[in-house]
Amino acid sequence: MSLGKPPARVQILRGIDLSVAPGESVALLGPSGSGKSSLMAVLAGLERPSGGQVRVTDLDFARLDEDGLAIARRGRIGIVLQAFHLLPTMTALENVAVPLELAGQPDAFARAEAELTAVGLAHRLRHYPAQMSGGEQQRVAIARAIAPRPTLLFADEPTGNLDAATGHAIMDLLFARHADTGATLFVITHDAGLAERCARVIELSDGLIVADRRHA
């Protein structure tokens, strides 16, 4: 599988074969430019590969168009980003409810509330992002990603904007929610220490997988 980005058409991923079992936790490790972010983009249905297949459960992402991918992401894919990316004009509860409503879940607010309680923010439901610390915002982001019970959960440098202690707590929470929900977890990072917490570590370099290890 390779990903051509117009107009430069640089090959970022050069024929990657990868299969991941349901419920696994996988670290995509590599320096910037290694292709780990592009691999995540392809796996998460954010970009289409220039060739090959990306099968997530019953769907081939490579055959879907833009809107098809967007719809396919709903309920299937959860993403946590380095910079939280909450909607500033919505409360924590509303932020978490957005993907549930997109996925057409009937009891979006009740489920959002349950999810925020699970990440320890029961007391922050009606707070706006501007009222919360970075760690709390990232908890909201995790709740938002996990609430629709996605098949695949991606965390792209989830602790990059947090101090070490908070980052540690966030990773604990992420792994706990991954374990609770049975979602397949991808952690994208250049931090080897962080990567070691995953059951499987895939190292990328120059668009190729250079190592694929499993821990006991």
Binding site: S37, S38, A41, A44, L46, E47, E66, D67, A70, I71, A72, R73, R74, G75, I77, I79, L81, Q82, A83, H85, L87, P88, T89, M90, E94, V98, P99, E101, L102, A103, Y128, A130, Q131, R144, G160, N161
Partner: protein, 835 residues
């Protein structure tokens, strides 16, 4: 390179870089300023050129005398005044003049009866040039000298009929008037004028030449003491005032439009600058960290405003010059309003002083628009702004309403101030303040209007997201809307004012035109009692009300009023406010609204009217509405007038026809029955046609304003488009995140469309509300102070709804267009942390 220029290197680099990166944003602001300056300057040029032509025309008739004594009515001054005046100290020479409003071959001509010997000393430019070289021709009672314009194809030596007030006399064209080519002017010997047109013993004017080095002030005082009632002293300055008053109404109207454009420009500059300061927060923070002081940051934003202003002003002056030339050529000096005679294209008079003034106004506008953003930029806390790259939107922050209320409060207070020198200066200030207050209230208003929506829950994520965004970040919405709210507000204000004006004029026309047919002699008064009886006796005519308008001056420094002579004058026109009966034995008069305001007259007041060579005390019984005579009008009963003056001639007639009679037949019958001399000068129109014609003139006068308003709105919309697209591009990270969540591009575009529509709705409501408020300032302050008339408010609901709808559609489309390019940015790259 100067030290100051070098000190400004960093700001210069920043400005150049910013403009290089965002040329459209700059262009919008510059165009807005340019249009404001161009409109103001063009209006000024057209007016100045037209007035110049007008003033020159007047100077021609007056012939360059130092001072003039004039009659205040059509009855003239006794000629025995002349020798008394001529003997006064300080008077070097005096020249008596009879002024006749004549028709020569159907063309209206100002006909002067002069004593050529005396005129040679006082007003040499009025002297004729005999055609056959016979200098004695000027004293021949058969001789008539015509200016080039009055000649109109006739030849020297021809016999020609001259009609004055229905009296026809035959003259020989004996030569030309080289001093007055463009104006229709004629000259005959004063003795001929008196004897042949029944003016024996009276003159209308005495032109005066003062002794060299004489004290004008003292001579004026001496003259004023020597003048009988019915005669006033006039100087050249008064003439300028009178002509000025003619077109002032129109100019104020157009000035208003220039103000619209300039204010819109100010708000567009504000929104462009506010947006750019918000976006460049980290840049300014960096500069401050690197050691730039706050003054430099403030200076940079103000300098940007200054450059907007300078470029805008330069473009605007050039554009204004072009517009003025085009307008003068296409529409004429009166901008189509019909104030000046048609087909008379005055040459463009360039006014460097005015150009500098309007340029300065444009630059000031741009600077004012940059003031608040400059302060915001200087207040950025450097260390914090450098860390927080995103905009720190906190929906809990309630938008402040106090500044808006204060601005509006001061605006209302300003509206209550009186006019300054006949100009509603505070009224304009009030409009500016109200607009600023309205724009300042936008964040609060946006939140208040959206609060009911924000409390609801929408199934469609696009609607939900859009509502929450606008409710949560109302100040961003306000920035985008400020330009359009200002321009829509002013446009609505103009529209409400024009609708109210038109409605009031229409109603007024209905009141003053109750008869079936209206006859006018175009300012002449050809109907003596015999002719009146003849007209009343025409078959089909049931009843005729004859009237005449005579100029009457109440004060030497004011334009003459119209004395309307008609039966039942006191009760003929519906009164504004109370009406009181004149005490027994007193002469009752009605005064028009402008007259009442100009001379501070209320029912019960007493006015001294110069009538029949006397000062007659008259009692004001009521005030009537009048949009026709800006200088004011006085209605007096025919019987009273006839007794006082012996002037029984009439010029206008309101004719009721018998039931079943055909108006066209009656009109034809009237024409047949009247002596040809009269029949040729009159015009008879059915009431419907007259009303239609009046309203057509009204609509034509305001047609150009609609065009200019449309331009202002377009500039406002361009501002919304520029701001909205900039804000949308600044939200690519948000869109990227939404797409991570599974929102489709189409849903994001739909969300932006809904945001745009809601924004347009809020802006429309604010603009309409603001416009209705500003309209009241126009109706209750600007109009009365500028034109001395009032009107009843009429709200064009259809138009208001149309504007709101258009705004909703336009801003939704704009937002969606901006959104299409914003969502084309790669979703994955959009959420990356770099800038």
């Amino acid at each position: 390179m100067t030290a100051a220029w070098r000190a400004a290197t960093a700001p210069r680099w920043m400005i150049a870089g910013e403009w290089h990166a965002h040329p459209v944003r700059i262009a919008t602001a510059v165009i807005a300023i340019a249009i404001g300056v161009a409109l103001g300057f063009a209006v000024h040029l057209v007016n100045a050129s037209a007035l110049d032509r007008f003033a020159r025309g007047l100077a021609t008739v007056n012939g360059g005398a130092d001072l003039r004594i004039e009659t205040t009515s059509r009855q003239g001054i006794g000629e025995n005044l002349y020798p008394r005046i001529a003997r006064l100290p300080g008077i070097a020479a005096a020249s008596p003049v009879v002024v006749l409003h004549a028709r020569i071959g159907g063309m209206p001509v100002d006909l002067l009866g002069l004593d050529a010997l005396r005129a040679a000393q006082v007003t040499p430019t009025l002297l004729p040039r005999p055609g056959a070289g016979d200098p004695m021709a000027v004293f021949d009672p058969q001789s008539l000298f015509l200016s080039h314009a009055a000649l109109a194809g006739h030849r020297v030596g021809e016999r020609i009929i001259v009609v004055v007030d229905g009296r026809a006399q035959s003259f020989t064209i004996a030569g030309s008037l080289p001093g007055a080519q463009a104006r229709a002017l004629g000259m005959i010997d004063i003795a001929a004028a008196q004897s042949r047109f029944a003016r024996l013993g009276t003159i209308d004017r005495i032109d005066l030449k003062l002794a060299h080095g004489a004290d004008t002030g003292r001579i004026r005082a001496t003259l004023n003491a020597a003048l009988p009632p019915g005669a006033i002293l006039a100087g050249t300055a008064d003439d300028a005032d009178r002509t000025d008053a003619l077109s002032r109404a129109y100019r104020v109207n157009l000035d208003m439009l220039a103000l619209v454009a300039l204010l819109t420009g100010a708000f567009l500059v504000y929104s462009a600058q506010a947006l750019s300061v918000a976006r460049r927060g980290p840049h300014f923070a960096l500069l401050r960290v690197l050691g730039a002081d706050r003054r430099m940051v403030t200076g940079q934003v103000l300098a940007e405003g200054l450059v907007f202003g300078v470029i805008g002003a330069a473009v605007g002056i050039g554009l204004g010059l072009g517009i003025a030339m085009l307008v003068l050529r296409l529409v004429g000096g009166d901008l189509g309003s019909g104030y000046f005679s048609a087909g008379d294209v005055p040459p463009l008079v360039f006014a460097p002083g005015a150009a500098a003034g309007f340029a300065a106004l444009g630059i000031a506008t741009a600077l004012i628009g940059s003031l608040v953003p400059a302060r915001t930029a200087a207040r950025i806390a450097p260390a914090v702004a450098l860390k927080n790259l995103g905009d720190a939107i906190d929906p809990r922050r309630t938008p402040a309403i106090l500044p808006a209320v204060s601005l509006a409060g001061v605006g209302v207070a300003a509206a209550l101030m009186p006019a300054v020198g006949g100009i509603a200066l505070f009224g304009y200030l009030s409009i500016g303040l109200l607009l600023a207050g309205g724009v300042a209230a936008m964040p609060w208003l946006a939140r208040a209007l959206l609060a009911p929506l924000a409390r609801r829950h929408f199934v469609s994520p696009a609607i939900e997201l859009a509502v929450r965004r606008l409710w949560g970040a109302p100040s961003q919405a306000a920035v985008a809307l400020s330009g359009i709210v200002a321009s829509v507000g002013l446009m609505i204000a103009m529209a409400v004012m024009v609708a109210s004006f038109r409605g009031s004029v229409d109603e007024w026309l209905g009141q003053i035109l109750p008869a079936d047919l209206y006859l006018t002699a175009g300012g002449d008064a050809p109907f003596d009692p015999t002719a009146q009886r003849a007209l009343a006796g025409v078959a089909g005519v049931r009843h005729v009300v004859f009237s005449v308008q005579r100029p009457i001056a109440l004060a030497p420094d004011r334009p003459a009023l119209a004395l309307v002579v008609r039966p039942d004058a006191a009760s003929a026109y519906p009164s504004l406010g109370r009406r009181i009966a004149a005490p027994p034995g007193r002469i009752g008069i009605g005064v028009s609204e402008p007259a009442a305001r100009l001379y501070q007259l209320a029912p019960g007041a007493t006015v001294a009217l110069p009538l029949g060579g006397h000062r007659v005390l008259a009692f004001v019984t009521g005030i009537f509405r009048d949009y026709a005579r800006q200088a004011g009008a006085i209605a007096i009963d025919s019987t009273t007038y006839d007794q006082l003056t012996g002037d029984t001639h009439r010029g206008d007639a309101a004719i009721d026809i018998r039931p079943g009679a055909d108006p066209a037949t009656v009109i034809a019958a009237i024409h047949r029955r009247l002596p040809p001399l009269i029949a040729d000068t009159i015009q008879i129109l059915p009431v419907a046609a007259l009303r239609q014609r009046a309203l057509a003139i009204f609509d034509r006068s305001f047609a150009i304003t609609y065009g200019l308003e449309a331009v202002a709105i377009l500039v406002g919309l361009a501002g919304v488009a520029a701001t909205a697209s900039a804000q949308t591009m600044a939200r690519t990270r948000e869109f990227g995140m939404l797409r991570h969540l599974g929102v489709t591009r189409r849903q994001i575009v739909a969300m932006l469309g809904i945001e745009g529509a809601l924004l347009g709705l809020v802006g429309g409501i604010a603009g309409v509300g603001l416009g209705c408020g500003v309209a009241q300032v126009l109706i209750r302050v600007i109009n009365p102070q500028s034109f001395n008339w009032t009107m009843d408010t009429r709200t064009p609901l259809g138009l208001l709804a149309g504007v709101v709808l258009a705004l909703i559609v336009a801003s939704a489309i704009t937002a969606m267009l901006a959104g299409r390019s914003a969502v084309s940015v790669d979703a994955v790259r959009a959420v990356r942390e770099d800038w």
